[in-house]
Symmetry: C3
Subunit: 462 residues, 3 copies
Amino acid sequence: MAVHETSMRLKLPIVCIILEVILIILFAVLVTYDDDTDARKWHKELKANRTTNYENDFYYRYPSFQDVHVMIFIGFGFLMTFLQRYGFSSVGFNFLIAAFSLQWATLMQGFLHGMHHGKIHIGVESMINADFCTGSVLISFGAVLGKTSPVQLLIMAVFEVTLFAINEFIILSVLEAKDAGGSMTIHTFGAYFGLVVARVLYRPQLHKSKHKNGSVYHSDLFAMIGTIFLWMFWPSFNSAVTEHGDDQHRTAMNTYYSLASCTLATFGISALVNNEGKLDMVHIQNAALAGGVAVGTAGEMMLTPFGSMIVGFLAGTISTLGFKFLTPILEEKLRIQDTCGVHNLHGMPGILGAIVGAITASVASTNVYGDGMKDVFPNIAEGTFTPSGQGVRQAISLAVTLGFAGVGGVIVGFILKLPCLGSPPDTICFEDNIYWEVPGDEESHQELAQVQQGDVVSPLNG
Amino acid sequence: MAVHETSMRLKLPIVCIILEVILIILFAVLVTYDDDTDARKWHKELKANRTTNYENDFYYRYPSFQDVHVMIFIGFGFLMTFLQRYGFSSVGFNFLIAAFSLQWATLMQGFLHGMHHGKIHIGVESMINADFCTGSVLISFGAVLGKTSPVQLLIMAVFEVTLFAINEFIILSVLEAKDAGGSMTIHTFGAYFGLVVARVLYRPQLHKSKHKNGSVYHSDLFAMIGTIFLWMFWPSFNSAVTEHGDDQHRTAMNTYYSLASCTLATFGISALVNNEGKLDMVHIQNAALAGGVAVGTAGEMMLTPFGSMIVGFLAGTISTLGFKFLTPILEEKLRIQDTCGVHNLHGMPGILGAIVGAITASVASTNVYGDGMKDVFPNIAEGTFTPSGQGVRQAISLAVTLGFAGVGGVIVGFILKLPCLGSPPDTICFEDNIYWEVPGDEESHQELAQVQQGDVVSPLNG
Amino acid sequence: MAVHETSMRLKLPIVCIILEVILIILFAVLVTYDDDTDARKWHKELKANRTTNYENDFYYRYPSFQDVHVMIFIGFGFLMTFLQRYGFSSVGFNFLIAAFSLQWATLMQGFLHGMHHGKIHIGVESMINADFCTGSVLISFGAVLGKTSPVQLLIMAVFEVTLFAINEFIILSVLEAKDAGGSMTIHTFGAYFGLVVARVLYRPQLHKSKHKNGSVYHSDLFAMIGTIFLWMFWPSFNSAVTEHGDDQHRTAMNTYYSLASCTLATFGISALVNNEGKLDMVHIQNAALAGGVAVGTAGEMMLTPFGSMIVGFLAGTISTLGFKFLTPILEEKLRIQDTCGVHNLHGMPGILGAIVGAITASVASTNVYGDGMKDVFPNIAEGTFTPSGQGVRQAISLAVTLGFAGVGGVIVGFILKLPCLGSPPDTICFEDNIYWEVPGDEESHQELAQVQQGDVVSPLNG
């Protein structure tokens, strides 16, 4: 353990406090309430436009925001508790890096598309976008889960949020592609960024911690809390920042049917690829969610319910097959140790989602969208782009995302190799004990006490 | 195990994939976006009626939908995790059959009351109704929990959803009864259907699995996650499809007070019927919810807060007493093995709810409802029915529901006896291991390892 | 055990049933639907003011209500499951006393500020307020957790709700202070009331139950469910009863940033004060929430995002240091056995919140608030108070709250000492078994069986 200075006694406080102080200073200088959040400005608006409080964006978006918030903190956090002795870290580090990332994302996304007169204006929509960006970091966290210190994770978040915001800016503002649910910006980016980081951080001796790299009965149930909350609220995720009215409504519904279809595919394929025909919790926990990822781009479009179901079915199938057949290859041949299988849940379904989005965009027609075209594809409505032009921009956006994720992941991966960041040794990966005070287990102790007394005969009282 | 072909290797994939392909084809042919979800149609509406996006039904109902969704997937799923070694199946099969049922319910309910010009129009209200119908299937699942294969459950869902939709059509559209929270259509139907199926599937040798048919400490805590989410969101459940405005508001509030009162009754009676005056988790997990069931019909009516509290109090009392005194009789005398006690949570409180609804309807007066009568009882408002006529129709609806549940349950029960459906043998009921890859338990393994170092030799079964 | 009549066989049913019957009678006599909930009155309003259903307060507040509801029942309930063998009681008694308190609070708060023509008018806002008052009781529950019977807790709730309502009335209606998120009325009051009760109930022999007064691995994960739901929904808590429009929007956002900042402070300080630099779950579970408490008063004001972050940072720091250094002193010197550390999570951050509120109020200016002043500080807008006058009233409110909590806590503490209330003996505190039927633990039994077969001696590692 000589080379692994894993004590967080000074490192973590220093990093946390410095980062938070920087955030507070930048917020003080740069950030202000937007027109719907500021007392003076909103009341001026109320008077000027004879609008009512109901038109405040809060009522359009806050319920969706809270659903997204649950996905970020409960969904991602508990999904990763499947490891037998990494529950504290899964929920806890998820909590820490999410709390940091949402603040940092407010600034980075604000610089790039929320500036007015030198100030970043924030409200419920920026809060959703900050949570979205955070989601991307948490996906990458899934790839390196169990093998990184909280300081490494915070450093990763600093860079990943920045790159996320630039990539998002290029895709949404420069290329003017659509990606409301983030198939590209969130899922593809987060997954491939994380996978490349994991590749750079490859640990040839990781098998020394192999006995910890798996679930136990109760940890799988905790993970299902994460899965089910992610699954249920994904319709809110994909619809959270689409336009008001039919757009939010349609996106939520498309996602609902995509996920339902995906779930049937996942259960079917999971039983099929198991020698004994048994279901595998890893598939159910993860692949059943791929249907949400895969309609992240096209969900707001007129994908139709059955179209959504086809996409969901494909996503569930690909994802389950990925867990079964691709993950071992990634590890053995490509040396990518993808703890949570983010390639199967976010990577491939994200790419599928980008492709579906490009195809759906390229067949958009006024017959189908009517006046609603201006909400979904404003450039097509205005005649600036043809539908196929929009489709091409969608496809380019996927390529840009993969490029950013790859190059960014390499650079950040090497930064994270700095020995001062306190990564765990190969022998103590997937283990809370290294960064947390872990209590003893009561039953163990009780039995220990009795066992130590010699030949125990008295029954344990419940 | 010769007669129990429990391997799901081919059965489950075939059933899942065939069902999903049929669903996709039927959706392609029959289903389309409704006026609030379709880009063209909504924007036409916006223009024609000078309405605003806020009038989109999404904003009236989506938060309630999400609460209902949580009840279906987390609530029902985790409520059933109380069994010590059936948590994967409880949450997992709940997930599977719910994901199937909501799609199938969209079609079945659409056929019967969502068709316009040969197409089923769907939006957030149909999504809620599909979740409601799914809830009914999950109630029946509770009666047969631990004794059925996932293929049996899917087959049951196919038939039950169909029967549910027909029964619902007769009650709401033919008899024009009111049942917004589904005391009859969801709870009474689901419970008695499931109980009759359980009767047909009676296993005289079930005691061979008796040691698995109970909870352990942590499984009871997981179950409380389900209980509490059901309890909290029941006001949303009952109000999700009532009319906008005072109706949704009043229904939510009546349910809130009914549940609170029910909880006190449950705790009180639970301690009273225990020899040592100790509380029983089974009662708290289940009977405390009966207050939501029992105001499912009358919740939207002018039941008054104290009326709701009386109903809740009765429901909690009946339900707790049912668990204590009736469940053993059902099992021994009537040969109904009701794993979750759905008769106590959904059956009797559902009937109580139907009766309360009939009485409350029969005393409806314009003095009390004013112009709101047209929302709650349109037929009374228009003079088509007298209040007592409405009450009679409510009562007939209960009888119809019991008839459908009984006859349907018998038929479906016998279908589920087909040996090819892979039901578990009597010796391996209430056990995840038969359909799931179950990880070893860390402590077990650790201790096993140590135990094996001593003179203990018999292996722990996983 | 002679002096501890802990059987609940008669006590609990009698108390539950009498209380519920009293509640039902008082509701029958005094409570009625408000204008937004009553069928006749709302439809009259619709007609008279040409308003739409969307203006019904249900749509402004119900999503926030549900979030608050989750905090009360899941948040508080699971937060307290950290104890190894007190999970049933934590979730269960939380459930019981919350279900009682919300009904009783409806009456007590209604008497004092919801009476119209001799009737208490109720709707979604009164439901939120009832949940808020309940929150205060649950905070006090945290101080006495593990050392009280359910009958004691119900008696405590009867008195505490009453005192809460009076204190709230004095602060909000007499002093006309602002406290929408309840830094003073909920958190400071609940914490100090509970601490004083804990002082009166001091148990010198509590060390006899010391081995139960701690967590195990899985119980800490259950507690994190509570923590994370509290953390996520705190923005809804603080904004639930603020004015519509910018006020709700701004309050939610301020709370969001305060909590994020608080979380970084908590992680940093937690590692810093640990000898090995390890994180402590107690801090993460609790102190990370202090940021929500500390903007309970000022959250609706123009605190600015960076101001909120500073407050959150201070709250997380104070709270973590309190757990580390102050809790042992409270126990040893002041004889206050504060099971959950409510002094650190609710007490000190509540006082901080009150001070921040007083300061922020005293610098309010029309430049900043514009016409929005009348929503946040109606008395300043009307010229009745100066900003500094408002600030002074805020400060006086804190003193009043501390006085009520202290005096009330002493009186109620002595009432709770009545031996007939069934408190547990010192040797069986923090133990579900005394009030609950507790199932045996499967693994324990299995292993016990095996252990008994041989003479295993090697110690189990935790």
